[in-house]
């Protein structure tokens, strides 16, 4: 690890992250405040199964279902994945394409330590966003009249953090192994979105139901942490994926030519 690199990466990315965190808390508070007014009405709608699955298959008429559909299944993971992916790409392939890494890598530090330091900074960014979701959910649930335990709110924030770490490590691996910013952003983002679609639709077709096990989304949200608490298996799988992909990033960046 290189603490100077972790610190400088945080310094560069923290302002944007903090604004995102403030925005997330505000959005979650507003979403919670809307529940008493519209939640029960929307809950009575007959939504097609496919659409309901896209929204997490939850009951809008309950505050747990409301937050699962509005936040847990789409908004939360997409925001945290977007931040993690763009952040991980920017500090690897982005800095390489901008030619900044040509000078940094010429310093007396192993490349793997450099990538590890950047990965640590991005992990902290993800944790900050997950904390913002946790705070926002507490505020939002209170504004919506309560009904979700602090333990279950915490469970969602933890699952979300692990999902963000896995998504970020995917971009880190692609960015570190290729040095191509567009590829890292596009491929990692595409895999995450494809995972969301597969996890939503595969269960509707019995023969491809198994595909959901290949998605990060399944291990993040299928367990429904807002209703059932922490999914230890899901967290373990996401953690192993994050560690494995980070290892790929370290090894990949160590072994290849730096792009001109």
């Amino acid at each position: 690890m290189s603490w100077p690199t972790t610190r400088i990466t945080l310094r560069l990315r923290l302002p944007g992250t903090l604004w995102t965190a403030v925005g997330l808390v505000a959005v979650l508070a507003v979403v919670g405040a809307l529940f008493p007014a519209v939640g029960h009405t929307i809950g009575k709608l007959n939504v097609p199964t496919s659409v309901a699955n896209l929204l997490g298959g939850a009951d809008y008429g309950t505050i747990t279902g409301w937050f699962r559909s509005e936040i847990a299944v789409i908004y939360g993971p997409l925001v945290i994945a977007a931040l993690a992916i763009t952040g991980a790409t920017a500090v690897t392939a982005g800095e390489e394409e901008d030619r900044i890494l040509a000078l940094v890598v010429a310093h007396p530090i192993r490349r793997s330590r450099l990538v590890a330091a950047k990965a640590a900074a991005i992990a902290l960014i993800v944790l900050i966003v997950a904390c913002a979701v946790w705070i926002g959910l507490i505020v939002g649930v209170a504004a919506g009249g309560g009904g979700i335990s602090l333990a279950h709110i915490t469970a969602l924030a933890v699952q979300l953090a692990m999902f963000g770490l896995a998504a970020g490590s995917l971009a880190l691996a692609i960015g570190a192994c290729t040095g191509n910013r567009s590829l890292a952003n596009g491929l990692a983002g595409g895999i995450v979105i494809l995972g969301w679609l597969v996890n939503s639709f595969a269960p509707l077709v019995g023969t491809i139901d198994w595909l959901k096990y290949l998605t990060l989304f399944y291990y993040y949200a299928d367990h429904d942490p807002l209703s059932r608490g922490v999914d230890v298996l899901g967290i373990a799988v996401l953690g192993v994926v994050a560690l494995a992909l980070t290892s790929v990033a370290l090894a990949g960046f160590e072994r290849r030519d730096l792009r001109a």
Binding site: I8, P108, I109
Partner: protein
């Protein structure tokens, strides 16, 4: 010139048979389509200021990146400070100062923050040395890098390359963007570094810059080494020129017929005649006219450079 700066190690002492700070054997990096570096055999001795010349795309930056293990060779090997560039790359980078060509820094950070980061990343930087470099170059440390001119960014690049007092400096186009006053400071700094027995390996395609500061130089073209020699020896083989001022205008054709004459340029009553070998035939031909003055014109490096290029191109 270095001699004006009191440099301690004269050209004659730059003996490549001694300890080589840079030693490459058949070093190659093939990018395909004829691009890259091919079979570079090069030795740079301790204490030398070594110029690495060539046009854009000749392989200068590729060589420097190979020496620092930023890229890996297709074949061949290199040793820097008697260490293997692959196996000992971290130790090499600890003892080397590097300025990349097309320097890029974090645009949102101030110059001070960039230097702080790089000093911490490297470790062991003497802050007094760094501060003296900042004073010497009058670097602007308080504005974000994105607001700095190319020259001011280059100053930051030079400071970070020199601030840990490295044994070897690898500088890719170090003078790019610097104004003449800063160039003078830079040249003085190179003189001091060389006088301390430290080594400088610098590239340029601006020939006059290298001419002022180097002991020996190498010319690279299309990834291949064309020549390595001292400036003094290169001058010996260069085309010589005489500037002859006549009382009346004289036709240049008369001189072009002389076998040793390579070029004739006329400017009113003055002919500039480039020739190889003895000046005897040129002087005798001039004696057929009323001569006001004969002035020898020393070749500059550009002439030498272009001559070698011409030979290779032919």
């Amino acid at each position: 010139m270095f001699r004006d700066l009191g440099r301690a190690i004269p050209v004659e002492m730059a003996d490549v048979s001694g300890e080589s700070v840079i030693d490459t054997r058949g070093l190659s990096k093939d990018y395909g389509s004829g691009r890259g570096l091919f079979g570079l055999d090069l030795q740079v001795a301790r204490g030398e200021v070594f110029g690495f010349l060539g046009p854009n795309g000749a392989g200068k930056s590729t060589t420097m990146r190979l020496l620092l293990d930023l890229i890996r060779p297709t074949s061949g090997a290199a040793r820097v400070l008697e260490l293997d560039t692959r196996r000992d790359s971290v130790e090499i980078r600890r003892r080397v100062g590097f300025l990349p060509g097309d320097l890029a820094l974090y645009p949102k950070l101030t110059g001070r923050a960039v230097l702080d980061y790089l000093a911490r990343l490297r470790g062991g930087v003497n802050l007094r040395v760094r501060d003296s470099l900042i004073d010497r170059f009058e670097a602007d440390l308080d504005r974000p890098v994105r607001q700095l001119s190319t020259g001011n960014r280059q100053k930051l690049g030079l400071i970070q390359a020199f601030m840990h007092e490295p044994e070897l400096l690898i500088l890719d186009e170090p003078i790019a963007g610097l104004d003449p006053l800063v160039q003078r400071s830079f040249h003085a700094l190179l003189g001091e570094v060389s006088a301390q027995g430290r080594t400088v390996f610098l590239s340029s395609h601006t020939l006059s810059e290298v001419e002022r500061v180097t002991d020996r130089l190498a010319i690279l073209r299309e990834g291949r080494l064309v020549v390595v020699d001292s400036l003094e020896n290169l001058r010996k083989v260069a085309v010589q020129r005489l500037e002859i001022e006549f009382a009346e205008p004289v036709a240049g054709d008369e001189f072009r017929k002389i076998p040793v004459v390579k070029e004739v340029r006329a400017n009113g009553r003055i002919l500039t005649i480039g020739f190889e070998g003895s000046a005897d035939a040129v002087v005798k031909a001039a004696a057929g006219h009323e001569v006001r003055a004969i002035r020898p014109r020393e070749d500059d490096l550009e002439d030498i450079f272009l001559r070698y290029y011409g030979e290779v191109a032919e």
